[in-house]
Symmetry: D2
Subunit: 350 residues, 4 copies
């Protein structure tokens, strides 16, 4: 096996990243070394690239970013029992401690001591990545490789949609970044009666329509609440998935949710949000949930089953495929708001 590999490296505490030749990482007794076939880009990677306030506070260069990927098992430590060479795998990149109350009661997705591969340690924008065996997710070869590389954000969508009952319900999704787009497909597969997609960016609205949202609305020109109330006999949406993190989208979420409905919050906010608790929450008797990561490993089983059964068509959301050497081009595409999910090929795009 090679000793050196190509990787995207964030070298310094400053904007940008470089393609470099680095050591293939070493792995421990309980670890698996995976040869990365495809990695995909998350909004978080753009934050790291641009070195914004969040990144400055969290990231310690040098770092290889990247936390969405699929690949093949190349080698593993002596305690590993569940994989063999050549297995096709992805991974949960939130490494939970396994020892806190949350981890020990089925809530590892909100572990008190979580560490994220690709954020807190070297990740998947490289030819090889090291993953603890506990976090490896083996994949049926029937699952398309491209989908296998985006299980992390798909899992966010599955976790959000399935955080309550969905069958026969009206679902409104505010914000159609990749997770919002995936949520359209998941809500449909999970039996939602109608799905509203609400998004300001016209590229994203076009994709939302391709993902088969029943109604695609532009908050800049459409009267979103009226549109929803009209198509729900005046009730409002049973479920709102808030995936924008923008004050106006959040306002819409509370305006359109029906009495007794639920709002699942996933979109991260950068500013405080103001609510009228009496009118917005208490009199309506709604439930609000914070959604973080993916349920370990409930969400992974659910999404694998849906993919294997062919219930999810995610292709419209995959807009770009690039060779890893062109990583900075991908960053520009993302910044321009023209790309949705971008796949990165360490060894070139085929």
């Amino acid at each position: 096996m090679a000793k050196l590999m190509q990787a995207v490296v964030k070298p310094h505490t400053a904007p940008g990243a470089e393609i470099r030749e680095v050591q293939v990482p070493e792995f421990g007794r309980n670890d698996v070394l995976v040869g990365v076939r495809i990695a995909s880009i998350c909004g978080t990677d753009l934050h790291i690239y641009e070195w914004d306030r969040w990144a400055q506070a969290r990231i310690h260069p040098p770092l290889i970013p990247g936390h969405e990927f699929c690949g093949e098992v190349v080698a593993f430590g002596e305690e590993v029992t569940t994989v063999k060479e050549g297995d096709f795998v992805s991974a949960e990149m939130h490494v939970a401690c396994g020892k806190c109350l949350q981890c020990r009661t089925g809530e590892a997705h909100i572990c008190q001591n979580v560490s994220i591969i690709g954020v807190d340690s070297n990740g998947a924008f490289a030819e090889y990545v090291v993953i603890p065996e506990s976090n490896i997710w083996k994949l049926d070869p029937a699952i398309p490789q491209e989908y296998a590389s985006i299980l992390d954000p798909l899992g966010n969508a599955v976790h959000s949609v399935l955080a309550g009952e969905v069958v026969g319900k009206t679902v409104a999704i505010t914000g159609c970044g990749p997770i919002g787009l995936f949520a359209i497909a998941v809500a449909r597969a999970a039996g939602a009666a109608q799905v509203f997609a609400i998004e300001v960016n016209h590229h994203r609205r076009r994709i939302a329509a391709q993902m088969k949202a029943d109604w695609v609305l532009d908050p800049a020109s459409d009267d979103v609440p009226s549109a929803i109330f009209e198509r729900t006999s005046g009730l409002g949406a049973d479920i709102v998935l808030e995936m924008a993190g923008h004050p106006q989208a959040i306002r819409t979420a509370f305006d359109v949710v029906r009495r007794g409905g639920r709002i699942s919050l996933l979109g991260l906010t950068s500013k405080p949000v103001s609510l009228n608790f009496s009118e917005d929450i208490i009199f309506k008797g709604i439930t609000i949930q914070g959604i973080n990561g993916r349920r370990m490993y409930q969400t992974w089983y659910e999404m694998t089953a849906l993919l294997k059964a062919g219930k999810l068509d995610l292709r419209p959301a995959i807009t770009d495929r690039i060779a890893m050497k062109d990583f900075s081009i991908a960053m520009e595409r993302l910044k321009a708001g023209e790309a949705s999910k971008i796949l990165v090929y360490p060894n070139g795009t085929r």
Copy 2:
């Protein structure tokens, strides 16, 4: 309005039924008189017709049977506020007392004092039927009339399928009478990853395939447990919907359910069933549910939403359409096991 109408009447405590001219029923202050457009036949109607032991204990002739139907509002009592003449409606035929603990805590489907229209009082195999306003279910004209006449058994299926989480799960259905067949469609719409239909009758198996069960098995010739374990990585089915009521089907249900799975029991049994509690239930940590009727009115909202959204294709299960005057022919078809759901037209099939 006419004073007389045609109806199927069970006149005596003996097998059979007659088409007779009877009085159009009177209605009270809180009642709705509905002109029946289509009624459909349930296995229960065959029990009444054949005058079996159950019927002898429960039915008090003379009786107009029939508890699945749709029609139009013709008139109503002075306290009725939610319908108007011409409204297209169906109805929940279990009339709950509204006053027992179950009724007052959202469990009216297991009301202590339930009375069933078409069983305990005159039903829908007639030109007109009287329904309390509380039990009327108004329908969007977009819903096909034929489907509107089978909401009662469809509701049984919806109640069974949605009695727990379904998305991404493997569902096995033992017994493919109409409710079992409908459950195939509902499970698919609700996001089941794969649906196994298990049925001895080849007519029903053919329909199960048309309803798009992923796998249709004949317990007489197929090794059902092996087939299920093989396609679930040795786990077994997450959910078993037992809709046969036959000892062998029940045995299969317990054999194929996975550790921690659920068995929802709907098929009525005529004989005691023997189980090994330790092996069948306790060590596997499974949950068993008795399913009765439809949740009032949760199930009705769910099924209406699914129908309106076009998520259910029920046509293969509707095998016969007959004029009410030919009621006894329908009974013969049913006895022969050749028909599945039979629709009855009081005014002819047009």
Copy 3:
């Protein structure tokens, strides 16, 4: 029976109220006339008395307020079947429409068309009050009369506490008005491992201690978060019941709830509240619930069972007992913050 009765009347659109002789109310076919034995005073009654902004928008004088009471059945309409003369009763004063989606799916406490007796129509500060049969709650004579008159606010507490799992959990209650005080008793009865009561008013803190809160904290002088984290191994409270409606209390609620915990909001706010969604909700993966009224009639069964079993000692929270003619004195006591729950006796306190 008498034709005239004494009542508290809000005569005009202005502050204050009067004791007047008025007609004993007439009742309809489905109604029950109850002779009020004890009525109790809610904060809402003070809003009506003082004619604040909320009252000006909602109340249409003349009105007899009062929505917490117990008494005896005196007479009833011809359709009433479940009570007889002399029955000891209280009532759910939220009259739900029974016809909206919420009512028909077990969520009548958030009915779209609710009307409140004592707010939207004449209430219980009178010798007699009329209640629809559906809302009457018959009481075991074993339940103390004083407790029977405060089932409405006790029900709010029961609904809040039991909106999720409680056994073995740490519960923090922000705000110890009567509902907060009752919640202490309910949380203890429901198996909470420890209960923190947080309240600025020292009268209320004294009562909170008498209700057997494990820890009583004064946010003006105690470091509330430190106190809670210290006694929960640094985890925080599993459950926060927010019953103050004050911005600072709400801030505390979000600060002390543990990752994956729940905040149940009952305290009405008069001003917007600002939150950092990412830190306060999403990363912590918490659930927030709006709590309104009482579950019909789940909550009533639960609270009756607890009372009948003698699991709740509510006496410390009942601070005053007055004759109805002294109603304005009660209002002053309440304004001064010295009284907690005040009982009103239409026929004198004996």
Copy 4:
């Protein structure tokens, strides 16, 4: 540290056991060596001692039995991070694989590959026992040592009681072995309105009364269903905890559960049980659960919190305390049905 220790050893495939001097067990990199302070005896240990059919099929002598205990950490492997010498601990003795679907979705108590310490490998009737770190449960020194030694069966009781809502409910417990007795205390602490204890053995009934069951019934002389229906307004028990495994007790469970109630099955049966599915399960709309082990580690947190808060008085169920050298006397006491929970002291009872 000593190289040799005293232990109860099942030496051969035959009835009986011996006290022997054996090697102190070796421990691995992830293991903890615990000095046993108290171990307690389970019915399973009697099966092993008597070498019944179950034991013959499952047990491979030589074996040190014992799976309920508490003690102090004496030493540990180099990967262990969460304990230190002298820590007071107990342990979950079901060692789950951590890799099957059940383990990875919060259902490790029904792991497909579980191995039980004291059954499948050497256990706690010895001066020392080896436990994997993952299964160690650290205890607050405030928890009484005697209680710390019976967390395994107490956990069964907690798991059973808390498998559904309990507050304000009527709970019937069929069978008052130690787990049934503990369930009385747990149900009371969890807010049950009334608890019925049903047991044929008069020693056990006496203890059930000491555990403060509201009603203690002898099925040999009392009309159990009548007693329960009378004290539940004819409804029946909301919850039945079946802990006898005897056909008659199971019959009672189904007879007394109310419509919509739940039956949690824990008592292992040795013979098939016959049910009338229609009448016993379906029409009543009940839920039946198989209860196995303890939820890892939800149950452990719940029971620790209840113990620490002083909500459980378990003393009446601890009937005997013996030195380990008198193990066979304990077996006789158990066989005679005179003892309930017996504590075993490896180093004498002091």
